[in-house]
Symmetry: C2
Subunit: 156 residues, 2 copies
DNA sequence: CTCGGTGCAAAAGTTTTGCAATATG
DNA sequence: CATATTGCAAAACTTTTGCACCGAG
């Protein structure tokens, strides 16, 4: 985990930015909640535990900076408000999401299934793919199970 | 085009809603700008030409209603503000997008390439896919050509 | 008459910005 | 000292909501 911070520090310095305590606290929050897709307000609340004086604007500015450098991804699931996710080192592309429309759960798929498609786009459209985003909306295993249970009761 | 309105009218009536002049004007704007991915404000401006008294809130309410009924898609490309797109009749799933990060152009791919993946998700995750979204970010043919041209000049 | 739909204005929520103060090298 | 960065508050922007009113059935 600290090696992550070190790596990111190098990326920042590389571009002429500093890893301030505020930025580090923000990063650590993202690192500790990697699977949670926090929104800006949530990041802010959690960062305040580590660095109580921080302002919301600073968190926004940090997240903006980090997402410009492709260190975090800024995603938008359609509820009003972006969500933020650390990119893992070995994951050059955005990962995919399974979004449950019943309970709101977001599951991640870390595999990259899209290389063949990207090649095809390159060929057919002359479009150079730099990144992609793939989300599936539907009903997760748990909600599906609950639903079937209810149906059974209704029948019996 | 009028057959589209007729079909949508039936879909609305089916669910107990009316095709009011305001809703029809909104639909016609989307129909006439099918490839443009308008945001709410832009839809509002264009609808005002057809129905000057309409209020912005009504446009929002119409777009919300139509997207709940899956007649339009509400998409979020990351600029603050949703964009709206009519779904075509023969296109049950969201189409895919090629988004140029240089010039902002959005090209559509109408093919559905994801069925095999959806089957796999169903099998591996027990997740019932109802809809999906696939966007590629990168550099479009035109911007790529411009860039190569510049590079040539730089060399010569 | 009833009720869904509308227009307007106000409110809510998210994100950005101006600016003076601060920290850092 | 020069400059990037921060905190705060105000502003900007998108979207939602409350409410009185209108209009079709």
């Amino acid at each position: 985990m600290d090696e992550n911070i070190g790596r990111i520090n190098r990326q920042l310095l590389n571009k002429g930015y500093k890893l301030t305590p505020q930025r580090e606290a923000t990063l650590r929050v993202l690192l500790e909640n990697e699977r949670d897709h926090l929104n800006a307000e949530e990041v802010f609340m959690l960062v305040k535990d580590k660095y109580p004086n921080i302002g919301l604007a600073t968190v926004y500015r940090s997240l903006e900076l980090l997402s410009e450098l492709h260190i975090v991804e800024k995603i938008n699931f359609g509820d009003g408000g972006a969500r933020f996710d650390l990119r893992s080192e070995d994951q050059p592309h955005m990962h995919h999401h399974l979004i449950c429309t019943r309970c709101g759960a977001v599951e991640e798929i870390k595999d990259d299934w899209l290389m063949p498609m990207e090649n095809r786009i390159e060929r057919e459209f002359g479009f150079t793919v730099l990144d992609h985003r793939l989300d599936f909306q539907g009903i997760c295993k748990e909600c599906g199970a609950k639903e079937r249970e209810k149906d059974c009761k209704a029948v019996s």
